[in-house]
Amino acid sequence: MLFYIFAAIAVLSGAYMVLTRNLLYAGFSLLLTLLSVAAIYVLLFADFVAVTQLMVYIGGVLVLILFGIMLSSRVHDKSVMSENTNVGWGITISLLTLIGLSYTIWQAGFSSLPWIQQAGTDVLAGQKSTVQLIGVKLMTDFVLPFEIASLLLLIALMGAAYIATDKQKV
């Protein structure tokens, strides 16, 4: 029941975000979408992922987006509006993606997968949270992707710092 409420909120706010012309409202409805997705993660026993979602996407990405909109919009003393272009192509591609995804999900037959049938409601099995499990996995099975991701972030950080510095006139 809770799932359907949060899913409805996520879908409705997502639709509003796409349809509204005001970029700032789109940003704020993204907040609602991200929050309800985090709630769905909680319902799936993924507490760490849910909080990370709050931390990274709302605390980081969304604030950056809002900052970007606010700093750039008051130049002409009116709110930034988005415009529609490429309507035909956009509709075609999104419809094709929808058909492709639906076909794949239909073909997968989730209810007959063995690990889903075995999974019970007691996913945590006495553990208080998934943090320890995720930590151990990151340092053993997935240490290479983890380190590569951190290297990528470091490169992005250095690139951003380089672009932002005042270039000395030679």
């Binding site: 709050l54 980081g60 943090v131």
Partner: protein, 367 residues
């Protein structure tokens, strides 16, 4: 639901006391009398202030973005209040004992930032906008040293659960499920050979279990001042240049909510500091041979004595920190923007990063 109401009542009570204390401390620091008329020593002043605010007209500026303007105070207060959900008040009283409480708290505070931006933008006023921008820039920057200081505590305690961290800092250590066979050593080092598990008191507080956390505590306290926009980090609402910052257009009930959210933020960051560094709801008095001060002032878990002692110690330590916050406001002048960023990025963050490394090494000494 009961936890929600109780926490809300407790918070309202603390905030009213705090608003009164703020005026009295300010008056004391400036050699004035402060409020004297309403009630004995003016003690009803802040209650009457709240009543006055509730009666005022709710003004929404004509040029404001009405939806955002009305929504923002609710979002700001909800974000701060959601943080109280994971705060343990006594050994067995915690609104929501989730296993990743510390991480959740750090994340939920960042929702506050979105609310501030909403308020600043919705007001459609250049002072409000500038105040919101400054406030958000400051909060986002100071989250980093605060988060790193908290991380060093988490590394020492090996837990993200506020209640587990609380139990580790006192004589009740072995009563927490999962910690039955743990022992506390003086300074956390077994080689010193002084078992403090049954001594308790101040010797098992985190700043004693690992003395380097004292530095982390100072860093966290400075950063928490910035996160709650307190002086000397109050450029977001610098009266002399911005009138009042992001809440300049708000009046009546909405202003009361914003005011409440701001003071709740102060209470929240002080509570977190007490829980993580200053022994949570544990007594500061240690057991000395036959004088079992720690046992006498802890009470029994699950009974009224445990609840009363636990909440007494937690709240009194929190009030000490809050008093310090009030005192600092009237002691230090406001920092300029460049000084603010210098302090955050070039002083606090490197020191906090070093602390995280040292905390890891200390943890290795502890096992």
């Amino acid at each position: 639901m009961l936890a929600f109401l109780l926490t809300l009542m407790l918070l309202l009570g603390i905030v009213i006391v705090l608003a009164y204390a703020e005026r009295k401390v300010a008056a004391f620091m400036q050699d004035r009398m402060g409020p004297t008329e309403a009630g004995p020593y003016g003690s009803l002043q802040s209650v009457l202030d709240v009543l006055k605010l509730l009666q005022k007209e709710d003004i929404v500026p004509a040029a404001a973005d009405k939806k955002l303007f009305k929504l923002a105070p609710i979002l700001i207060f909800a974000a701060v209040f959601a943080g109280f959900a994971v705060i343990p008040f006594t050994p067995d009283l915690i609104p929501a004992g989730i296993g990743i409480g510390v991480f959740y708290l750090l994340a939920i505070i960042s929702l506050d930032v979105v609310g501030l931006l909403m308020a600043g933008w919705g007001s459609n006023n250049k002072y409000a906008m500038l105040g919101a921008m400054r406030s958000v820039a400051q909060i986002v920057s100071y989250e980093i040293p605060a988060g790193l200081a908290i991380l060093s505590v988490v590394m020492i305690c090996q837990s993200l659960d506020f209640q587990e961290i609380s139990y580790q800092q006192g004589v009740l250590l072995n009563r927490f499920p999962g910690l039955e066979f743990e022992t506390n050593w003086l300074f956390g080092i077994e080689a010193l050979g002084i078992n403090t598990t049954n001594i308790g008191g101040i010797t098992t507080w985190n700043i004693f279990r690992a003395p380097l956390l004292l530095v982390a505590f100072v860093i966290y306290f400075i950063a928490s001042l910035a996160e709650s926009n307190r002086a000397p980090f109050d450029i977001p609402e610098a009266e002399s240049e911005l009138v009042a910052g992001f809440h300049v257009e708000y009046s009546g009930f909405r202003f009361a909510i914003l005011f409440l959210a701001e003071y709740s933020m102060m209470v929240l960051v002080s509570l977190v500091a007490v829980i993580l560094f200053l022994g949570s709801w544990n007594t500061p008095l240690p057991n000395l041979t036959t004088l079992k001060f720690a046992n006498w002032t802890t009470g029994t878990i699950g009974e009224l004595s445990g609840i009363l002692w636990g909440s007494f110690w937690l709240l009194s330590k929190t009030f000490v920190l809050l008093f310090l916050q009030l005192q600092i406001r009237w002691t230090y002048p406001r920092l300029r923007v460049d000084q603010l960023m210098h302090l955050c990025w070039k002083v606090l963050t490197p020191v906090a990063l070093g602390l995280v490394l040292l905390a890891g090494i200390w943890r290795l000494l502890m096992v």
